[in-house]
């Protein structure tokens, strides 16, 4: 098992290098704005632009630039400095990470807490009115664009501009350590919006998975043993049905940790997604590279975790 993990970790590292190389190349090949020009501003003297370019190291051959970057990254964990703000990328990332973590983890808990029970009940009462209603609602929520949903939610429930002034509106995010109450209340609406689509998906997943599981032979055996029905459903059915869901869950969380741009923008939450988006508009390569690497890291870790968790959950899966 440990050898398996080690192998996955090494592959993951290789993947990170590849991703970073790809980002590096992409941003220098695609027609984005020249960061030196952007930094210099309008009407800058070409001499000035050249000087800035030298300063930012953009005039060195690509391979040199890449090598310097890689060296700094893997040896010193130095992700460079933002072209735009002069702040170190690492500090910016760490600064934004708590907000993204809060948003993602809270939403994850919420969507599992809502989606799974709904899916279970739907599976057990197939084709009942409850089932049809919940599956219809889930279809709606899945189709609703996140951004739109966020705006609707704000206009309905935000305490400053909404019809029913229930929760704090956009821009009210405060760090957990700074103001725990405000942190909690300001994330209510974003959590709901982010969780909405996922809860819908997971409800459907759980429903399908459980329906399939409940048709298995071992359910029949459990009933034949005289096990109470609730236990049959939960301990036998759900326990088997949840394995594929948990693996998808790990991946979803991994992806979200790379930044939920839309929700972060609508609710003005200073997270990694928005940092990435702002950096892209400014062609701020170091930040872009940093966020991409971070996102890739989260996904790779999530993948490895998935494999480990799956083997733990399903003893039939053994590492080869």
């Amino acid at each position: 098992m440990s050898r398996y993990i080690l192998r996955r970790v090494l592959w993951g590292l290789l993947l990170l290098i590849l991703v970073s190389a790809l980002t590096f190349v992409l941003f220098r090949i695609l027609p984005t704005a020249d960061p030196a020009r952007l930094r210099a501003g309008r009407n800058a003297n070409p001499k000035v632009i050249a000087e800035i370019r030298a300063n930012l190291g953009l005039n060195k051959p690509l391979l040199d630039q890449f090598w310097l970057y890689m060296k700094g990254l893997f040896l010193h964990f130095d992700l460079g400095y933002s072209y735009y703000s002069g702040a170190s990328v690492r500090s910016l990332l760490f600064d934004r990470l708590p907000a993204t973590l809060s948003l993602t983890i809270g939403a994850a808990i919420l969507w599992m807490a809502i989606g799974l029970p709904v899916g279970i009940v739907s599976a057990l009462r197939r084709r009942s009115r409850l089932d049809r209603a919940s599956m219809g609602a889930s279809l709606l929520l899945v189709s609703a664009p996140e951004y739109w949903l966020g705006l609707i939610v704000l206009y309905l429930f935000a305490s400053d501009i909404g019809q029913l002034r229930v929760f704090p509106g956009a821009g009210s995010y405060a760090g957990l350590t700074a103001d725990p109450t405000k942190w909690l209340t300001s994330l209510m609406l974003p959590w709901m919006v982010l969780a909405a689509g996922f809860a819908a998906v997971y409800a459907r997943l759980m429903r399908t998975s459980l329906i399939e599981t409940m048709g298995e032979d071992y359910i029949r055996t459990a009933r034949a043993k005289g096990v109470p029905e609730r236990q049959v459903v939960l301990r036998h059915g759900v326990r088997a049905a949840i394995t594929p869901i948990l693996t998808i869950f790990a991946l979803d969380v991994g992806v979200l940790l790379g930044g939920a741009v839309l929700v972060e923008t609508v609710f003005d939450i200073p997270g990694i997604g928005r940092l990435n988006y702002d950096a892209i508009t400014h062609a701020d390569f170091p930040i872009i590279q940093g966020t991409v690497l971070l996102a890739a890291l989260f996904i790779i870790v999530a993948n490895i975790l998935v494999d480990i968790v799956y083997a733990y959950l399903d003893p039939r899966v053994r590492f080869s």
């Binding site: 704005a33 930094r39 009407n43 800058a44 003297n45 703000s85 966020g150 400053d160 923008t265």
Partner: protein, 628 residues
């Protein structure tokens, strides 16, 4: 999120229609200038002669809104109409901006959002009161600049009693101003306009951050500039830009040694407010969190007696990011808050309908036009250009930008509030047949196409023309409309939309790309002088291989000569007349296709007595705004 005009950068100084005519020279004393016909060399940028006392030029017309007026409709505020005195002291203003600052280093700041913070925390030698850009008010300076007769020497006296904020604390001296300007040449700072305005200073061309021989400080409160060319009035005018705000060398030098400079993360203030900082003066992470927030607090070392600013507010909390629609609602329905960057169109409508007293509209916010390639391709032919001018539906283009509330149909090139506007044709513009019908007139267009040598009235040549516009609404909508018009004229187009910065940097700003039509370009002048509007975009001398701002590669020898001559004129009347004539010439040549004159909206909450800077697109001025 593309701005109407490119990056809404330098402030335009527009005089209000109907403002009193100033008796010329205002704050800056001028010696008589000798016309120097051989002059007018601009090292890559435009020159500014705004400080020669530009007064309001004629009446802008208070026509009712329906007819297309420059004036703001009744009930809406304007910068000129806001009172500079009588505000209540105290309170914290919350500012919601969805755009972040670009540069906070006074040696680098060059956009309107940056200026909002700049002019509240830094004191350049001269600056403007909110409701005028006719005259510069001495800020750090104690009086107007003294320009020698040969215009090669400029002397400025600095007032005493102005102190730096903590942790520097000491009194400001002329050496600090000298260092501030000298660091502009430092590649780690790379000030964008240093070479344009200070390029004539002795030794400036070789400067790299070290002392410049031409900048001399004979005593602690005097600074003298020695120039190699007679451009003193330009330099003097440029002293309103933030570069001349003092920077303490002992604090900044080590920071300026970093590539790029770190001074922007530390910052020392001289204005009434400062960015919140720690004991070492570090601002980054404390008073400014990039992409998140900024906090301005009172500068304890600022003294009201040395400043013309009242500085009512105790603190300004700036929140960065979010969705413009949401921000708009929050501001309009909230309290003690303003939005201080581009307002979303639906919000402007909402404010006009339901919160009219909370809406401010500032005219003279620049122009948007369609650049066409005057050098290569079908548009090198003046008749083809005229045909396109006639064919384009400018009313529809303006509708996409928000309609009459925030735009006027553009009919020539000097925009409202700039001297020369009326002389060049005013709102209606020169009444030539291709300009007469802003909704577009295909018959006139066909006529010009025939004159251009296409008997069918449509283009029949084989060339597929390249059209590059900017993404994001309304640029993309307007670009589509223009593209459709081109197709109606018989052109085959290769149409692409790219990010605005990419459009400028890689396509429309690079002559070698030979782009035929650029429908998403715009211009905002640095100062309220017609030269600042017409020179760089239309002067053949200013075509650059890279970063070109003469997007259409306009290079008419007659126009070039006229510009060279008009540059040296002194006196608002003369300048206005000369440049207005150039404007008419540009119209006659259809050098570019006009689209829209912008009026900038700003919004505030109901309990904020906002005062907007007319010279900065009407942005709320923190030093004059108060809470009711």
């Amino acid at each position: 999120m593309s701005a109407q005009a490119p990056n809404r950068k330098p402030a335009s100084r527009a005089t209000r229609a109907g403002a009193r005519r100033r008796a010329t020279k205002g704050g800056l004393a001028m010696s008589s200038t000798r016309r120097n016909t051989k002059n007018a060399l601009l090292a890559g940028a435009f020159t500014i002669l705004a400080a020669l006392g530009l007064a309001a030029c004629g009446s802008g017309g208070d026509a009712p809104l329906g007819a297309g007026s420059i004036a703001a409709p009744a009930g809406v505020q304007t910068p000129a109409g806001e009172s500079l005195t009588g505000g209540t002291h105290g309170g914290t203003l919350t500012v919601l901006n969805h755009q972040d600052f670009e540069r906070l280093d006074p040696g680098q700041a060059y956009s309107s959002v940056d200026y909002e913070a700049m002019y509240a925390t830094q004191r350049p030698l001269y600056s403007y009161k909110p409701n005028t850009f006719a005259q510069a008010t001495p800020d750090l300076a104690s009086g107007p600049p003294q320009i020698s007769a040969d215009r090669k020497t400029v002397t400025v006296h600095i007032r005493s009693g102005v102190h730096f904020s903590p942790p520097v604390n000491r009194e400001v001296t002329s050496a600090d101003v000298a260092y501030a300007i000298e660091r502009g040449a430092n590649p780690n700072v790379a000030n964008p306009y240093f070479s344009s305005y200070y390029g004539a200073v002795e030794g400036a061309s070789k400067a790299d951050g070290g002392p410049i021989p031409g900048i001399v400080t004979p005593n602690s409160h005097t600074i003298v500039f020695h120039l190699t060319e007679p451009k003193g009035q330009i330099l003097a005018a440029a002293l309103v830009l933030p570069l001349s705000a003092p920077v303490p060398p002992e604090f900044a030098k080590p920071l300026d040694a970093h590539k790029p400079t770190e001074y922007g993360n530390y910052l020392v203030a001289t204005g009434p407010y400062m960015f919140k900082s720690n004991a070492q003066g570090k601002v980054l992470g404390i008073g400014y969190e990039p992409g998140k927030s900024a906090t301005l607090v009172r500068n304890p070392n600022w003294s009201a007696s040395t400043d013309f600013r009242p500085a009512y507010l105790n603190q300004i909390d700036i929140q960065i990011g979010g969705d413009p629609d949401v921000i708009g609602h929050q501001v309009l329905e909230g309290s003690d808050m303003v939005q201080n960057d581009e307002v979303a169109q639906p919000i402007v409508q909402l404010a006009y309908e339901k919160f009219r007293s909370q809406l401010e509209i500032s005219a003279g916010a620049g122009s948007n036009y369609i650049a066409v390639n005057n050098k290569q391709g079908p548009f090198a032919n003046v008749n083809v250009r005229k045909a396109l001018w006639a064919a384009v539906d400018r009313v529809a283009l303006n509708k996409a930008r928000g309609g009459e509330l925030v735009t006027n149909v553009m009919t020539h090139f000097i925009y409202p509030e700039i001297p020369g506007f009326e002389q060049a044709g005013g709102l209606k513009g020169p009444q030539v047949d291709y300009n007469e019908h802003p909704e577009g007139d295909m018959e006139v267009a066909a006529k010009y196409m025939r004159q251009a040598g296409y008997p069918s009235g449509k283009y029949t040549g084989g060339k597929t023309i390249q059209v590059v516009g900017a993404t994001g609404s309304p640029n993309s909508t307007d670009a589509e409309i223009v593209n459709q018009t081109l197709e109606n004229l018989g052109f085959k187009t290769k149409f692409s939309l790219v990010d605005s910065s990419v459009m400028y940097a890689k396509f429309c700003g690079v002559p070698a790309e030979e782009i035929d039509v650029c429908p998403s370009v715009g211009w905002v002048a640095d100062f309220g002088d017609p030269q600042a509007v017409l020179d760089v975009p239309f002067n053949g001398e200013h075509i650059e291989a890279e970063n070109n701002s003469n997007y259409g590669q306009v290079d008419d020898p007659t126009i070039n000569r006229k510009m060279a001559a008009a540059e040296l004129l002194v006196g608002e009347q003369a300048r206005a007349a000369a440049w207005a004539s150039i404007d008419r010439e540009l119209v006659a040549q259809a050098a570019a296709i006009p689209m829209s004159w912008a009026k900038q909206p700003q919004i505030e909450a109901k309990d904020v007595a906002g005062v907007g800077d007319i010279w900065n697109l009407g942005a709320w001025d923190y030093s004059f705004t108060s809470l009711k």
